[in-house]
């Protein structure tokens, strides 16, 4: 029941779609039992495509292919989803050419697209061109009784943003290096937290809330900005709600966690996977103990450990179906008995694979 979409079924769906027999698609979106009158909300989630210009009209093929593939597969989902999320870092260096090239690919998606700002989209022109394409950087919307919030979590201090670097290009380069000590910790910032407090004021505490951010709204490893500096303050605003879910990109890997009422799920990248911070021998990280790591990526398969997600919000809680291209998919969903997200196959240490033992 958890294997809703396998690589094979998506491929088959592609073939069937080409033949024009959409009604015979082997994909069946299983509607999990829903107590009450609300229908569940489903959306596809694509993130971290890092479209990178080489020069002129040439772009890094590898990253292009990841995004194209995700868009093509997401369009095969039947029945159609309520909306599509893009989780940030559409571009590598925030260039207009990169954002345009990525936006062109995303424009092929069926359905309403919502986008989250990533640091790679932002630090060249401070989000100006991105905002022309995708609108406000923080806002909320409601679908079928679920309150969705989009935040720009990759802001940082005014000093770093406005006064430290001689050029916008250098500022972008400094923030683009994940492990660059000249970078700066991400934050939501006071202005946006005030907006969030006002926005949530109007929402009943029983309403399920889903927050989309680019960086984790929790602190995992500061050295790679798997981190939001004012995470605790944002969590405090979310704490009064009965069921809160945070979905974030940036980390290019599967992570999940539970802090109080807040369940956290990360999403994968379409571009490339990142090592878990625990594999860096010179620093401590705080990978949530709940998280069962992904299989170690095999570099010989270009798309290994990348992919996209199908997410449903059922009874106010998130189930993320990770569509891994060269491995079995992973399903991480909220376990009401345990009170936190679990991996539906691998949570039990006895059932893990050798390739999940990173070092």
């Amino acid at each position: 029941m958890t294997k809703l979409i396998t690589r094979r079924s998506v491929m088959a769906a592609g073939a069937a779609g080409l033949a024009g027999t959409v009604s015979t698609l082997p994909i069946s979106m299983v509607q999990l039992a829903f107590a009450g009158t609300r229908e569940d909300v489903r959306f596809t989630y694509i993130s971290d495509s890092h479209i990178q210009q080489i020069k002129g009209a040439s772009f890094v093929r590898n990253w292009d292919m990841g995004l194209k593939r995700a868009v093509a597969e997401a369009n095969l989902i039947q029945p159609e989803v309520d909306f599509v999320m893009f989780g940030g870092d559409l571009a590598q260096l925030g260039k207009r050419e990169e954002l345009d090239h990525g936006a062109e690919m995303l424009s092929a998606l069926k359905g309403k697209l919502h986008a989250v700002m990533g640091e790679h989209d932002y630090y060249l022109d401070l989000g100006e061109y991105w905002s022309k394409l995708y609108g406000p950087q923080w806002y909320s919307f409601d679908v079928k009784g679920v309150h969705f919030v989009v935040l720009n979590s990759i802001l940082t201090t005014d000093e770093w943003t406005f006064h430290r670097w001689p050029s916008a290009e250098q500022r972008m380069q400094e923030m683009a290096g994940l492990d660059n000590p000249n970078g700066s910790p991400f934050m939501v910032g006071e202005k946006q937290r005030k907006w969030l407090a006002d926005d949530l004021e109007k929402v009943s505490k029983d309403t399920p809330v889903v927050v989309f951010s680019h960086s984790p709204l929790q602190k995992i490893y500061k050295g790679w900005n798997f981190w939001t500096d004012d995470a605790e303050q944002v969590q405090a605003l979310l704490a009064p709600f009965k069921s809160v879910n945070v979905i974030y990109g940036h980390v290019h890997q599967i992570q999940y966690n539970q802090i109080g009422n807040i369940a956290f799920n990360s999403v994968m990248a379409t571009a490339w996977p990142w090592p878990y911070p625990s594999t860096y021998a010179q620093a401590e990280s705080h990978l949530p103990v709940l998280t069962v790591p992904m299989n170690r990526a095999d570099p010989f398969f270009e798309r290994d450990a990348t992919g996209w997600q199908l997410v449903d919000v059922n009874s106010g809680r998130v189930t993320a179906r990770y569509q891994l291209w060269d491995n079995d998919q992973r399903v991480v969903g909220f376990d009401p008995a345990a009170g936190h997200p679990v991996d539906k196959s691998y949570q039990d240490p006895m059932r893990r694979k050798a390739t999940q033992a990173h070092y």
Binding site: V60, G177, N180, A281, A297, H358, Y359
Partner: protein
């Protein structure tokens, strides 16, 4: 280097006790360490620069702090190469494929710099040759 050490030993031999086989001082050790660190630093620059290949992609994009390169496990069997390989062969695989560049010679100073940096980021981890 060898010539100057020999000259030093000869010099000592003329005035004092018989020459010792491998005599060096704290300042020598510091200099040698500094030499290594400057090469590892060059490696870090190459790792993050995007100049090794042709498409601007940098090693650090996938391997921040050279993580998941596990130099302590080489030489090891790489199933995709079908043989036991050394780390420089894997570095060249990455230069040729994700970076769309030209392979470096095993003793190219750039390769030495890259290997120096990768090992530096993994310092303190025990050797486990062959491990997967």
């Amino acid at each position: 280097m060898r010539i100057s050490m020999t000259a030093l030993a000869l010099g000592l031999g003329l005035v004092a006790a018989p020459a010792l086989a491998d005599e060096f001082k704290g300042t020598d050790v510091q200099r040698w360490q500094a030499e290594y660190e400057s090469v590892a630093k060059k490696g870090r620059e190459l790792w993050t620069s995007g100049a090794l290949g042709t498409n601007g992609v940098a090693c650090a994009q996938c391997h921040p702090n050279a993580a998941n390169t596990h130099p302590e496990t080489y030489p090891k069997f790489q199933k995709q190469f079908g043989k036991v390989t050394q780390l420089w062969e894997m570095v060249n695989w990455c230069i040729k494929n994700p970076l769309q560049g030209q392979a470096l010679a095993a003793d190219d100073p750039k390769m030495t710099a890259i290997l120096s940096y990768v090992a530096y980021e993994r310092r303190g981890v025990k050797l486990e040759p062959g491990k997967h």
